[in-house]
């Protein structure tokens, strides 16, 4: 990865100088300089300069997977709260089977929770879809919230962190890009332990050597970390999907 060291920049700060650099998300050009237009961590990949946020609210992007809760039922769909400024709309046409307008609540009722894909982002809100495999209603377990910017660290490179947690606690951890995390296992005590591990990762997301720290934390909880110690290059490039 072409990421140099983990440089945190402040709006208005010059990141690099040179016309060969291209300002991407979170950056803009001012003469010869590429300047930060957002507070966050710089990533430069093949002269493409981006600033990845480390804090702040969740901004939905097309293709994101989110975990959301039904807050309203209309004649043609469901309104979902996912912690964003506006609710998401799940049209009746975007669920796996045909639902009659009289059975809307039977299929998906107030307060039920779903994993959906962000299909479209418009000024009035977000459109969601539940048609694909792997998406749908969830039950049991518990939900916690983390900063959306911590999501890549909790998932880990190619899911390594989530796998490590499963090996230690037997719990499945499903992370929505919106920062909602669904923890599901056979035993609530283990789910609570999983919560502590996830929160530990989120609290230490920007620190180097995170994998080792998480392993120690798991040991401190009295859980055996069976996941083999892999040499993981500490990388804070957001794997944003």
């Amino acid at each position: 990865m072409a990421n140099t060291k983990r440089q945190i920049v402040v709006p208005g700060e010059t990141i690099v100088t040179g016309n060969e650099f291209l300002p991407g998300d979170g950056a803009y050009r001012d003469g010869e300089e590429v300047v930060a237009s957002r507070y966050g961590i710089v990533t430069i990949f093949e002269k493409h300069v981006r600033v990845v946020p480390v804090s702040g609210a969740y901004y939905p992007r097309r293709g994101n997977t989110i975990i959301a809760t039904v807050v309203d039922i209309t004649f043609n769909g469901w309104l979902l709260d996912f912690g964003g400024a506006q609710n998401a709309f799940l049209p009746v046409s975007e669920v796996p089977r045909y639902v009659n307008k009289n059975e809307m609540a039977e299929f998906l009722d107030f307060g039920e929770t779903v994993i959906v894909k962000v299909w479209d982002v418009k000024s009035r809100g977000v459109d969601a879809s539940m048609k694909m495999r792997g998406f749908g209603k969830i039950d049991g377990g518990m939900i916690i919230s983390i900063g959306p910017n911590k999501v890549p660290r909790v998932i880990g490179r190619e899911g390594s962190m989530v796998k490590m947690i499963k090996a230690a606690t037997g719990c499945d951890v499903t992370v929505g890009q919106n920062g909602k995390v669904w923890i599901s296992g056979k035993d609530t005590g283990m789910e609570v332990a999983t919560r502590k591990i996830v929160e530990f990762i989120a609290d230490n997301a920007t620190i180097a050597g995170l994998t080792e720290k998480v392993e120690s934390f798991i040991k401190e909880l009295g859980l055996e970390s069976e996941f083999p110690v892999e040499i993981v290059e500490e990388n804070t490039d957001g794997e944003n999907n």
């Binding site: 039920e112 969830i138 377990g141 609530t188 005590g189 609570v192 919560r195």
Partner: protein, 274 residues
């Protein structure tokens, strides 16, 4: 501002874990308080100002004394007023504008707990009978709501009062010129009482609710308890919320209140008086 959304699966999990094992989703038992931290000296321009955190729930409370003429029916007594603000900076659920009923209720419940216990020595606040008395103002601002603002505010109020310094009154200039280094405001220290709020969540009575638990609470009771020669004595009580409470539940509440008071009161006294 926006409603706090509680997914069904979360409510089920909180209630079943409590009902089956008496435990909570952050690992605490039903009667456990989160960590309490106190910070003093938030403002040097008032008699006292403290920051109190219970877990991540945070309030700042300050005490001010002002000069006033006494009420006609109590010419030798000072006055006392409590104002709690559920400031919108503390939560998505708080609105900008005049205090809503939640802030008003909180102010009045905290006020009663302190006033009825006799903690403030009103006669000691008299400067000149019929002419001049001290008014005591307790102002609380919520900074972060992570559940149980009630108890953070109640604790902050008594700590701020306990640490408040007496103003120096220049009679000739008729104004306050500073604060006494070592002299506190007139308090009846023996009757100090502190309040705890209990909620019914699922089938269990719970102390120091988290934000999620507070959202699904069926009923809440705030009880202020003081020390009457080593025995717990209730000085104020408030049931809030629309739910009802059975006599069995009430017994559980009283039992829990007494045991928590016995456990926590020595530490609370230390926070208040040093």
């Amino acid at each position: 501002m926006s409603k706090y959304i509680m997914p069904n699966l979360q409510k089920d999990k909180i209630e079943s874990y409590l009902n089956k094992e008496g435990k909570r989703l952050d690992g605490r038992t039903a009667d456990e308080f989160r960590e309490i931290t106190i910070e003093d000296g938030i403002s040097k321009n008032s008699a006292s100002a403290v920051r109190v955190k219970i877990g991540k729930t945070e309030v700042i409370c300050g005490v001010h004394l002002g000069l006033a003429t006494p009420y006609p029916d109590s010419p030798d007594e000072g006055t006392f007023m409590t104002n709690a603000e559920l400031h919108p900076m503390a939560s998505q659920q708080f609105d900008i504008g005049r205090p809503g009923i939640n802030a008003i209720e909180m102010s009045r419940v905290i006020d009663r707990g302190i006033r009825e216990s006799g903690f403030i020595d009103f006669k000691g606040l008299c400067i000149k009978e019929g002419e001049k008395i001290w008014q005591v103002f307790v102002d609380i601002t919520a900074i972060n709501d992570d559940g149980n603002l009630f108890d953070a505010a109640g604790l902050a109020a008594i700590i701020a009062l306990g640490r408040a310094r007496m103003p120096i009154y220049d009679e000739e200039a008729d104004k306050i010129t500073g604060y006494e280094e070592k002299k506190g405001i007139p308090l009846a220290k023996d009757v100090l009482s502190f309040s705890m709020t209990f909620h019914k969540v699922g089938d269990k009575i719970v102390a120091d609710v988290s934000k999620d638990e507070e959202a699904i609470s069926k009923c809440r009771i705030t009880i202020a308890i003081g020390d009457n020669n080593g025995e717990a004595r209730i000085t104020a009580m408030q049931k809030g919320g629309a739910g009802t409470i059975s006599s069995e539940d009430m017994e559980s509440v009283l039992k829990l209140a007494e045991s928590k008071w016995t456990e926590m009161f020595p530490k609370v006294k230390e926070y208040v008086f040093g």
